[in-house]
């Protein structure tokens, strides 16, 4: 028996662009959206887009992670459900559990699913039962000498390189590549310490490292009626230090292989009793062999490429599923047409190791035009705080062909005007004109293989340079450069 709900109001337990994204779909369904914010985030864009807003504490960051405060905010505003977005509490199984206990609907998978799939070891066991190939890996390594011995035995069988991974890790954190024995033993200690610090859990395991694989993922939707569907593949191979930089849909795999991977992903989701939106991730080697990597039990940053390509609003489906409705379409109705590319324009300085560049966005003029989708998080005059992620806007473009999508991305990037903070735009402008990218020759070694992408000069508009000079002439009451 499926519980049915009608939401009049939901609380979005997140900030920035994803909060705005969720609110948009909710508001389209006639559902009011409640924003939460910390004092240190009181100027954030998502607050302005909400129907109601609740300050949940002084911040920074800790209040967005405080389950009790968020539940209280939902109760205080009369929200019937909570959408977690991505990051913060999105993959913390305690959160949906607390929601349920408080009589609130959690818009996402049930806690036990998050818990099972959040444990990489349990997740591997579940998917292996469906016949999926997994990357050779150890069980959770015991502490101390016993763990070291198990690790050494694993490399004796599978050879280097291997990866040390945190059981509770995600988003690229808690991962370390090991190429020899001396760094293995040292790496085990360091990874444990980092995992403990980052995730509160020092459990780690070893996994065989694949060289230059493609990172392919499948978007999944599952409802309470046993329907599990895929919305096609995405290629997320362009990564920097295991963090995705650019995502593409579809993945560009051979259609038969792509179909096989999608069906495997559906089987895995079904085996895990999945509900709501999620992503099954794979590594694909150059022989076309694919290996299960992990399941992300949440909405992904890059869900927009799938939405653009299929025309399906994934957040809307999440909301409907959470209200007890079945998925609104059949698998046969899902069509991928053309290509979509998404990238994250962050307030970062790529030349300075992508260091965050917080500050006031003095001028912000966004791009626009055919095939351009923006999921923004800022406005002109906004002071990007140093406490949160540095996303300015997520840019997604669509093209009927790959080349059209690339050309459109180049054009869309050129259409931005951002003054006051450094951004990743110049770096992306390098990528979209790089021959391997244009040929869609992409694997996880792409960024390391193309260090020249950093050899760019930041372009400043001529008019802005001249404005600087006029300000000097004005201040000095003469031109200081004429002598």
């Amino acid at each position: 028996m499926v519980d049915k709900h009608v939401f009049g109001k939901i609380l979005v337990a997140n900030r920035g662009e994803i909060a705005v994204r969720v609110m948009r779909s909710a508001q389209e369904l006639g559902i009011k959206a409640v924003a939460i914010y910390e004092e240190t985030d009181k100027d954030a864009f998502h607050i302005m887009r909400a129907d109601e807003a609740v300050c949940i504490g002084p911040g920074p960051r800790k209040d967005y992670l405080n389950i009790d405060k968020i539940i209280a905010a939902a109760q205080q505003t009369g929200a019937q459900a909570i959408h977690p977005g991505y990051g913060f509490l999105a993959e913390n199984p305690d959160f949906p559990e607390a929601c349920t206990n408080a009589g609130l609907v959690f818009i996402g998978p049930p806690p036990e699913v998050i818990r099972d799939l959040g444990s990489k070891v349990i997740a591997r066991t579940i998917v292996q039962a469906t016949g999926l190939r997994v990357i050779p890996a150890t069980q959770v390594l015991p502490q101390g000498a016993e763990g070291e011995a198990a690790a050494l035995a694993f490399v004796a069988e599978h050879d280097y390189p291997v990866m040390i991974k945190a059981v509770s890790g995600g988003g690229g954190r808690g991962i370390r590549q090991i190429n020899d024995e001396s760094s293995l033993l040292n790496g085990l200690k360091r990874s444990r310490a980092e995992a403990l610090m980052s995730f509160g859990d020092d459990s780690i395991y070893l996994e065989k490292c694949m060289l230059r694989p493609r990172h392919v993922e499948v978007q999944i939707l599952a409802d309470s009626y046993g329907n599990v569907m895929h919305l096609g593949t995405r290629n997320c191979s362009i990564q920097r230090r295991h963090q995705k930089l650019i995502e593409i849909a579809p993945s560009g795999l051979d259609p038969a292989l792509s179909r096989e991977i999608c069906e495997a992903a559906v089987r895995a989701a079904r085996a895990a009793n999945y509900l709501s939106a999620g992503t099954v991730e794979f590594l694909v080697d150059h022989q076309g062999r694919y290996y299960f990597l992990e399941v992300n039990t949440r909405l992904q940053v890059e869900h927009t490429v799938t939405e653009v390509l299929t025309g399906i609003d994934i957040v809307r489906e999440q909301l409907l599923i959470a209200m007890g409705a079945p998925i609104s379409f059949s698998q046969e109705q899902v069509h991928e047409r053309g290509f979509a590319i998404e990238l994250r324009i962050n307030a970062e300085d790529p030349k300075n190791d992508f260091l965050a560049s917080p500050g006031v966005v003095e001028v912000y003029r966004s791009s626009a035009g055919p095939g351009v989708r923006l999921d923004g998080a800022i406005y002109q005059g906004y002071k990007i705080p140093p406490f949160y992620d540095s996303l300015i806007v997520k840019l997604t473009v669509y093209g009927f062909t790959w080349r059209e999508a690339v050309d459109r991305m180049a054009r869309a990037l050129n259409g931005f005007l951002i003054i006051g903070v450094k951004s990743t735009i110049p770096y992306f402008q390098q990528i979209v004109k790089e021959p391997d990218f244009i040929r869609m020759k992409l694997d996880t070694g792409y960024i390391d293989d193309h260090p020249q992408l950093l050899d760019y000069r930041e372009q400043e508009r001529e008019v802005d340079k001249l404005a600087r000079l006029i300000a000097e002439i004005n201040a000095h009451e003469r031109n200081p450069h004429t002598q």
């Binding site: 003095e362 001028v363 003029r365 002109q380 005007l417 003054i419 000069r457 400043e460 001529e462 008019v463 802005d464 340079k465 001249l466 404005a467 600087r468 000079l469 006029i470 300000a471 000097e472 002439i473 004005n474 201040a475 000095h476 009451e477 003469r478 031109n479 200081p480 450069h481 004429t482 002598q483």
Partner: protein, 553 residues
């Protein structure tokens, strides 16, 4: 109009038309006008504004580059000298662009290594159609590499013979000099008479032209003069009537200056003799000056304060381009009251040192020597350049040698090795050809300073003016193409009022505006809020301390 010479014609075609022409042609020497009387400050935007009328006026050429302008572009106007040429090219697509080059000194003040000379000429020759090339000692070997590169680039070569007056400056000397040049270049050139100070009477110029024409039938002659004494119309008229085919002139809107004499005055004078300015459209010529009279107000602060023609130039013989700056230097140096003495001393020094040509870099040597002689005693403080001149580093002195006491004063000055001047001269004298520069090393050095790749054009500028070119490149990286701004903004005095709007088009024709919204002071900083193409931006400029402006924003 028929007979007009336009860009795209080959040097052979141009020379053919000039030889066949019954009339004469005009070169608008904006560059020398700017250098002579406006401290070289005329901005490219003024050239752009007047360009449609200049293009329609039908000049043989417009001289927009060369001489000191290249250095001053970099130093005081923050304009790329190549950009200046590109701008002029675009604004006057049919008109030939002309330059004046100082031979082995290119656009600078010292002899450069041969590979630097060749590189620079190659780069400039991409835009410059007509090359006036001179050496202040008329030492032809100093000109040879430039000649070669100009001809290789298939540009029109105009070797110059510097002209002066005095018993040594005979027709025979100049005819021989022309022959020496033609032996190097071949006949397909225009020979220019470079009367840099506007010396000699019309009669003298007429004789000179007739002598050269008689010696070299079919040779095309150009006359470049200055109007310091107010009589260059007379000299130009005489020159044309004697056979000169091209004269350097100015717009009458820039009249009464020490640069060139007005075009229209020359046209009117020669009309009586049945000589016509070929291709010239007089209404357009007048429009140029109507516009420039307005434009001239912008440059008023830079106009020479020493106005009015000066016939005494016949004695001190300083090039027109240097007279105004000489007075200015005297004013700044606090010895303006001694100028009559200095000019008399110049004439004396000129004669003592051999009566060669007082044009860059010789004019600077004579000027410095005269000033030092007056201020510190005769030849008591000789400059290094004077010493190099006497050592023959620029080439052999063409006429008589100075007296022994001058050699002694100059060559033995600050020598502590006890050597006497004849020994010094014997051991150290003569042209010392600089070895070729390591161009790739210099390029790497420049790129290291700029933290970006350097173009060949940038390298060509850097090799001539290492410090000033580098400062300019950094300036341009930061401030962009400032020539796009109206000159009245670039030379603005007194800041801007709130609400004042500055409009300009970029080089692609896209209009922009910058409006001053507010100005407020906070301690040592001035905060200026501007509306830049509809977006507000605030700039903070530190104004404490001269030349220490630091901008954030």
């Amino acid at each position: 109009m028929s007979g007009r010479i336009t860009r795209g014609m080959s040097p052979t075609e141009i020379l053919g038309m000039l030889r066949e022409s019954e009339g004469y042609y005009l070169c608008n020497n904006e560059r020398d006008v700017s250098q002579s009387d406006f401290k070289n400050r005329l901005m490219p935007m003024t050239t752009v504004r007047v360009a449609p009328h200049r293009e329609a006026a039908g000049f043989f050429s417009v001289e927009v580059s060369g001489g000191a302008s290249v250095h001053v572009d970099l130093m005081r106007k923050q304009v790329n000298p190549f950009e200046r040429l590109r701008i002029a090219h675009k604004a006057m697509p049919r008109t030939l662009l002309q330059t004046v080059c100082r031979g082995s000194s290119l656009f600078g003040y010292r002899h450069y290594p041969e590979n630097v000379i060749r590189l620079a000429v190659r780069e400039f020759a991409r835009y410059v159609d007509v090359w006036r090339v001179y050496d202040f000692l008329n030492h032809v070997p100093n000109l040879a590499p430039v000649f070669e590169e100009v001809q290789k680039a298939q540009r029109l070569l105009m070797p110059s013979v510097c002209f002066s007056t005095g018993p040594e400056h005979t027709d025979r000397y100049y005819v021989d000099k022309v022959k020496e040049i033609l032996d190097v270049t071949g006949p397909e050139v225009i020979i220019s008479i470079k009367n840099y100070a506007g010396l000699g009477t019309p009669k003298r110029i007429s004789q000179l032209v007739e002598s050269i024409c008689a010696a070299f039938p079919g040779l095309v002659l150009h006359y470049h003069g200055c109007n310091t004494d107010g009589n260059d119309i007379g000299r130009m008229s005489a020159a044309v009537l004697a056979g000169v085919k091209i004269c350097d002139v100015a717009d009458h809107g820039y009249g009464a200056i020490y640069g060139q004499a007005p075009a229209l005055t020359l046209i009117q004078a020669l009309d009586d003799y049945g000589k016509k300015a070929v291709g010239v459209d007089i209404p357009s010529l007048i429009k140029c000056s109507d516009l420039l009279r307005q434009e001239r107000k912008i440059y008023e602060p830079f106009e020479s304060p020493f106005r009015g023609h000066d016939p005494t130039v016949a004695a001190y013989k300083l090039t027109g381009g240097a007279v105004g700056s000489a007075f200015e230097q005297a004013d700044k140096g606090g010895f303006l009251d001694r100028m009559p003495e200095i000019l008399t001393e110049m004439a004396r020094v000129q004669a003592e040192l051999g009566n060669w040509w007082s044009v860059t870099p010789g004019s600077q040597i004579l000027w410095t020597t005269a000033v030092n002689n007056v201020l510190y005693g005769r030849y008591e403080r000789p400059s290094l350049d004077l010493k190099n001149l006497l050592l023959g580093r620029y080439g052999r002195l063409p006429f008589q040698r100075p007296e022994a006491w001058i050699w002694e004063k100059v060559l033995e000055y600050q020598r502590y090795d006890g050597k006497k001047w004849p020994q010094i001269l014997a051991e150290e004298g003569g042209i010392q050809k600089s070895p070729d520069a390591d161009l790739e090393l210099e390029r790497r050095r420049l790129e290291g300073e700029l933290d970006r790749p350097a173009t060949d054009e940038e390298l060509a500028l850097y090799l001539q003016f290492p410090f000033d070119a580098l400062s300019f490149f950094k300036f341009q990286d930061r401030y962009g193409k400032v020539w796009l701004l109206p000159p009245e903004v670039w030379f603005r005095r007194g800041g801007f009022k709130d609400g004042q709007r500055i409009t300009f088009a970029d080089e692609y024709g896209v209009p922009h505006f910058i409006e001053v919204i507010s100005t407020r002071r906070e301690g040592a900083h001035v905060l200026t809020t501007l509306l830049v193409d509809h977006s507000y931006q605030t700039f903070s400029v530190q104004v404490e301390g001269a030349g220490k402006a630091a901008v954030a924003g």
